[in-house]
């Protein structure tokens, strides 16, 4: 493995890795593709006549509105907290990431409890004859999804802005750009791959979301998927719609990649961190106000409401069992994050060593699990693990022995399923960090006699460290919130905080679910806080770039 990294060997260890990962990720997809054997024309006719036109339209609208909001909030706040100094900025830099820890459907429920026709705020305002518009609409759902998901864009953009060479901006300013112009014409274009990766996560989450759209009565494609399965009893049709959804997602990403191809993104040698400008007092306090308001509506007020419910309704439920739920959540989140990041690193390296289009497509297939509604992916995973078990038991019988099923109902199956679902979440940060490690660094190290492994350990690993932590923290938080896969693959007795939320919400006891919801949010803020400190601290990212 000591050959020159620039030459592309025909077939290497990395190709095997990619092939393995694609096979792993594609395994549940096989179940989905296999659904095309049986087309239920009655259901399809019904869907295309009454549902799909609306669902396609509302999916597109929701996607567009959420992306615009998340882009505005994410990129805007990232630039604000990176390029300027104002009261509280050090706090906001990390605190603005914390809404990531709040499950979107919990946030949605809190908003409905306030603003729906019988919501507490609505009733209060009605006393003074102030009518509120209907919030159970596409706009309400978009608002909630944007608040819950903007941190993905914020994180990606901030990492990119922090690591953007100040020189590029200085050059821009020397050429007569104001700081605002520099933002639009230098910083954002340079951060484009990262911002796109962040927006892609948001888009995938929106496409796969069922909780929020069900609460707000929005007719998206994921609602169509559930309807085909649960209401029309046609799982194959549900999978066929899911497959189309995944196909569209892959196409969109490949298109973006193709469009980006002409631009090259490498840092130019030694870089200085961007020095934040101090804002004058009025703009400064406005900036503080904006950040405070975002934080309040996305996290602080909802958490306060959950706290009130948990205190008034759920106090008795807080027993020693919660330690088990907590421990299981953390253990699954931790081990799931570890496995997923490991696979993401292998995948990113493979793509770095071989940048041919086939490889890009393979990578996209391996990371598409995120765009599928979790329940559909869960069914695919269970189909695969059960098939393995059937083969295993049959093999045992061949030997005249009775072997217990190997995978079904084990944590191994869960971890595989998590990795398939969240690979793209880990892949994004790892890939963009690896993209900033120039091939010239490798060449220099090799010319100094360093082996491939040495390059990995002494150059790449230190440079990738923040990205690896970022990836792990993101996956960790996602697993804490994940529901359908956890429900369907958990071993007996392995209850988590998320399954606790399910037990209560599925029975219509939303307010009582405040206690586990609060616990999930708290458990998620720890890695989010850590993530923010580790990844987006201006000095940490830069001191590590000095080796070259």
């Amino acid at each position: 493995m000591t050959g020159t990294p620039t030459g592309v060997p025909r077939f290497t260890f990395w190709h095997v890795v990619v092939a393995g990962l694609v096979a792993l990720a594609a395994a549940p997809l096989v179940a989905i593709v296999a659904s095309f054997r049986a087309i239920d024309s009655d259901v399809w006719h019904h869907l295309t006549t009454y549902l799909l036109p609306t669902q396609l339209l509302e999916t597109a609208q929701l996607l567009l509105v959420v992306l615009l909001l998340a882009f505005g909030l994410g990129v805007g706040l990232a630039w604000l907290t990176t390029a300027y100094r104002f009261p509280g900025v050090a706090l906001f830099r990390w605190a603005l990431l914390l809404p990531l820890a709040m499950p979107a459907y919990v946030l949605g429920f809190v908003y409905l409890a306030w603003f729906d026709v019988t919501g507490s705020v609505t009733l209060l305002l009605r006393r003074w004859d102030i009518p509120l518009p209907q919030v159970r609409t596409l706009w309400g759902a978009a608002w909630v999804l944007a608040l819950a998901l903007y941190p993905y864009v914020y994180l990606a953009a901030r990492v990119a802005f922090v690591t953007t060479s100040a020189r590029a901006l200085e050059v821009g300013q020397a050429l007569g750009l104001t700081r605002r112009q520099a933002f639009w014409r230098v910083a954002v274009p340079l951060a484009r791959p990262a911002i796109v990766a962040g927006c892609a996560l948001v888009a995938f989450e929106v496409l796969a979301d069922f909780g929020v759209v069900a609460l707000f009565g929005v007719e998206t494609l994921s609602v169509g998927i559930y309807k085909a399965w649960y209401a029309l009893f046609s799982l194959p049709t549900a999978m066929q719609i899911a497959a189309l959804l995944a196909f569209l997602a892959i196409l969109a990403l490949l298109f973006e990649q193709w469009a980006r191809k002409r631009a090259r993104f490498t840092t130019t040698g030694r870089s200085q961190p961007l020095a934040p400008t101090r804002l004058a007092s009025l703009p400064a306090w406005s900036a503080t106000l904006v950040c405070t308001v975002v934080l309040a509506v996305a996290l602080l007020l909802p958490v306060a409401q959950l706290g009130v419910w948990a205190w008034t309704l759920g106090r008795d439920a807080l027993t020693s069992r919660y330690w088990h739920f907590f421990a299981n959540s953390l253990l699954l989140g931790g081990s799931g994050a570890f496995v997923t990041v490991l696979l993401a690193v292998l995948l990113a390296y493979a793509q770095r060593l071989d940048g041919r289009p086939l490889m890009h497509t393979a990578v996209r297939i391996a990371t598409v699990g995120y765009a599928l509604p979790g329940a559909v992916l869960a069914v695919g995973v269970v189909a695969v693990t059960s098939a393995v078990d059937h083969a295993w038991v049959a093999l045992g019988r061949g030997f005249g022995a009775q072997w217990a099923p190997l995978l079904g109902g084990t944590v191994v199956a869960m971890l595989i399923a998590y990795a398939i679902r969240f690979l793209v979440v880990a892949f994004g940060p790892v890939q963009s960090a690896l993209g900033r490690v120039t091939t010239r660094m490798d060449e220099a190290a090799h010319s100094l006699g360093e082996t491939q492994y040495g390059v990995l350990r002494r150059i790449h690993l230190p440079l990738l460290r923040p990205a690896l932590f970022a990836a792990a923290a993101l996956v960790f938080i996602d697993i804490l919130k994940e529901l359908p896969i956890t429900l369907m693959t958990r071993p007996f007795g392995w209850e988590t905080l998320a399954t606790r939320i399910f037990e209560l919400t599925n029975d219509g006891r939303w307010e009582e679910a405040a206690l586990p919801a609060l616990a999930v949010t708290l458990a998620g803020t720890v890695p989010a806080w850590f993530l923010a400190k580790e990844v987006t601290h201006p000095t940490s990212a830069h001191t590590r770039e000095t080796p070259c």
């Binding site: 019904h46 549902l51 570890f338 329940a375 269970v382 059960s386 084990t410 958990r490």
Partner: protein, 335 residues
């Protein structure tokens, strides 16, 4: 250091899994879509009465049925518990259940509340009925579900979303009793009378009636039971419609033995125990449902609502006609 912690955690997780897979012989394994807080007391009482331990996992109905299908003969589950007759019908049609022969069960559960081939049995009953504001609507203003389609109720009706399985079963049994054309006309009338967008859950419908957003609605009885238990002044009461003809629409939570049960004898003992008065009392008291076995007392809240004539239409119709019902509701524009 960090990595070592992760590795330790991972190893622990891997070791824990096979350990939890080995269970004592006298353990009944259950897949249930009835949630933990409702079913745990039932299992606890069963264990206390028989010494048989129960392990279970919860999930949504559709997911549990798909899981049983995929696991096939390797499934650890002996018993499936689900809510809604349509789901029970689907479980039978998916081939994940087996018939149970038990004279005790046949004798205690009325025929229309169980499968004709003994694949599943309703064990608790809930009425999906018309709810009215106690002051704004008089009891004699509504005699039938059909009446809610009358223009008199324009802007005064609240419904839950048509994506809810209980609404689907209600409409399916209406199709069974009235035919598709008549049902569609009624459902269209309901939609035309809506005061606001359909709600995501029954509790929201009841609160909307209480707050004056609308005057009437259709929900399951136990949701009202829970609200009244919390606040005895809650200003909503049920109406018992169609007492002169087909009766109030009822639905069940039910149980069946899985096709590849490893402990069919334990499963049988469990289901036979579910129709004892001890078990029936738990369903009635704890979730304000109605017992399926005659003579079991209901909760004080439920007792105040009086008795009613329930529909005798076989509940398997809810499954057979569910697809037709869903398509009908979509045509009628019920979101």
């Amino acid at each position: 250091m960090q990595r070592r912690t992760f590795l330790t955690a991972l190893t622990a997780a891997l070791i824990a899994a096979p350990v939890s897979a080995t269970v004592a012989a006298e353990t009944l394994t259950v897949y249930t879509s009835r949630n933990e807080q409702l079913i745990q007391p039932v299992f606890d009482a069963f264990t206390k009465a028989t010494g048989i331990t129960v392990r279970f996992t919860t999930d949504k109905d559709g997911a549990l049925i798909e899981r049983l299908k995929a696991e096939g003969e390797n499934t650890p589950a002996d018993v499936l518990i689900t809510v809604d007759a349509g789901n029970l019908w689907l479980a039978k049609r998916s081939g994940v259940l087996q018939p149970l022969t038990s004279d005790v069960v046949l004798q205690k559960i009325p025929a229309h509340l169980r499968d004709a081939d003994n694949h599943w049995f309703g064990v608790s009953l809930r009425a999906r009925t018309v709810m009215r504001h106690v002051e704004r609507v008089r009891a004699d203003e509504i005699a039938r579900y059909e009446d809610l389609a009358d223009p008199k109720w324009k802007g005064r009706l609240c419904l839950r979303t048509s994506k809810n399985v209980y609404n689907q079963s209600l409409v399916a049994t209406m199709i069974a009793d009235l035919g598709e054309a008549k049902t569609e006309a009624i459902v269209k009338g309901w939609v035309a009378n809506l005061a606001t967008l359909p709600f995501p859950n029954d509790t929201a419908v009841l609160e909307a009636i209480a707050q004056g957003i609308c005057d009437v609605g259709i929900t399951n009885t136990y949701y009202l039971g829970r609200l009244v238990a919390k606040d005895p002044q809650f200003p909503v009461v049920p109406v018992w419609p169609n007492q002169q003809d087909r009766g109030v629409h009822v639905n069940v939570s039910g149980v069946g033995v899985t096709k590849h049960a490893k402990h069919p004898e334990l499963a049988k003992r469990f289901i036979e125990w579910l129709v004892t008065s001890d078990a029936q009392k738990i369903f009635a008291e704890q979730n304000h449902e109605y017992p399926v076995v005659e003579g079991t007392p209901v909760s004080p809240v439920v007792a105040r609502w009086g008795t009613f004539q329930a529909s005798q239409t076989p509940l398997s119709k809810a499954g057979e006609l569910q697809r037709a019902a869903v398509q009908l509701m979509d045509r009628a524009g019920w979101r």
